[in-house]
């Protein structure tokens, strides 16, 4: 079933249909989630209004990890089956994931300063998230540095797959080591420990960011695929004209 989407034209048609749904879905979810996060949800009894940073920090963190999981999976599909759409998906996910990883670090720092008294601490969670950001930068730099497209795709895929080891380290860092960062409070085997008045706006904001990222990834992959095919035809046209 999945190999059907390896056909560029079929994928482009599917993406053209999905992008407006995810794009408008994101707009509607942000229209609900932002007032909920900034006005309706109560301040935390200990953290006061700084808890509102959670509504952008936590979705950014989840999406930076989800985008990397997608990058690793797309790289695996490209590495094994050489599906070009998978390689384009990896290229589309990298800058978006890098932006979310940066936002996780930056908003975490802005949250940490008033709550922990420090902008940065070399603890396991923060350091492994920094490693994730550097992996994204490394992936993009590696691809940009190699001129041969196929070689760049293969080298990038190997780096992306190797970097997957960092995802469980980020997730379980708060359990494996003593860290300044709080343990998980939403995705837990025994259920969320966060109050519903904060959990729901957090879930709506997470869905909004997820819909936005999905729309942009589909849009970018479609446009990269269109550009690639049009570039090949334009070159053939020029070469044909010259011949």
């Amino acid at each position: 079933m999945w190999s059907a989407f390896a056909n560029p034209e079929r994928f482009e048609r599917l993406a053209a249909r999905l992008v407006p749904w995810f794009g408008w879905g994101a707009v509607i979810l942000f229209a609900i989630g932002l007032p909920w996060a900034l006005i309706i949800s109560p301040p935390d009894y200990q953290q006061g209004d700084t808890v509102r940073i959670m509504y952008v920090h936590v979705p950014s963190a989840w999406l930076s990890m989800a985008a990397y999981a997608g990058l690793g999976a797309a790289s695996f599909v490209y590495f094994v089956w050489r599906h070009n759409i998978a390689d384009l998906a990896a290229q589309a996910l990298a800058p978006i994931g890098a932006v979310f990883a940066f936002l996780t670090l930056a908003t975490g720092s802005l949250w940490g300063r008033p709550m922990w008294g420090t902008w940065w601490e070399w603890d396991a969670r923060l350091t492994s998230m920094l490693v994730l950001f550097l992996l994204y930068l490394g992936y993009m730099a590696l691809r940009a540095a190699i001129e041969d497209e196929r070689l760049a795709a293969r080298a990038g895929a190997i780096l992306a797959m190797a970097g997957l080891i960092n995802l469980p380290i980020i997730k379980f860092s708060v359990d494996w080591w003593n860290t300044l960062h709080q343990p998980a409070s939403v995705i837990r085997l025994d259920g969320p420990t966060i109050h519903a008045s904060q959990l729901w706006p957090l879930l709506v904001m997470t869905l909004a960011f997820t819909a936005l990222m999905t729309a942009l990834v589909f849009m970018n992959v479609r446009n990269m695929s269109l550009a690639k095919r049009a570039e090949a035809r334009a070159r053939r046209k020029v070469e044909g004209g010259e011949g």
Binding site: G48, D49, R52, M219, L226, A230, A234
Partner: protein
């Protein structure tokens, strides 16, 4: 209204976070639009209908 913007004395941290996030979202939207413009340019060069 002033109370809302002061965010309990943490305005710099809260609004700074939302401002940075808005900047990040603007950046990924710009990347998407640039990619779209590139596709259109190649399609124009190939003499095709644009997406």
């Amino acid at each position: 209204m002033a109370e809302f913007f002061s965010m309990g004395g943490y305005a710099v941290f809260v609004w700074g976070s939302y401002g940075l996030t808005a900047g990040g979202v603007a950046l990924i939207l710009w990347i998407a639009l640039r990619q779209r413009a590139k596709a259109k340019a190649w399609q124009a060069m190939a003499g095709e209908d644009q997406p």
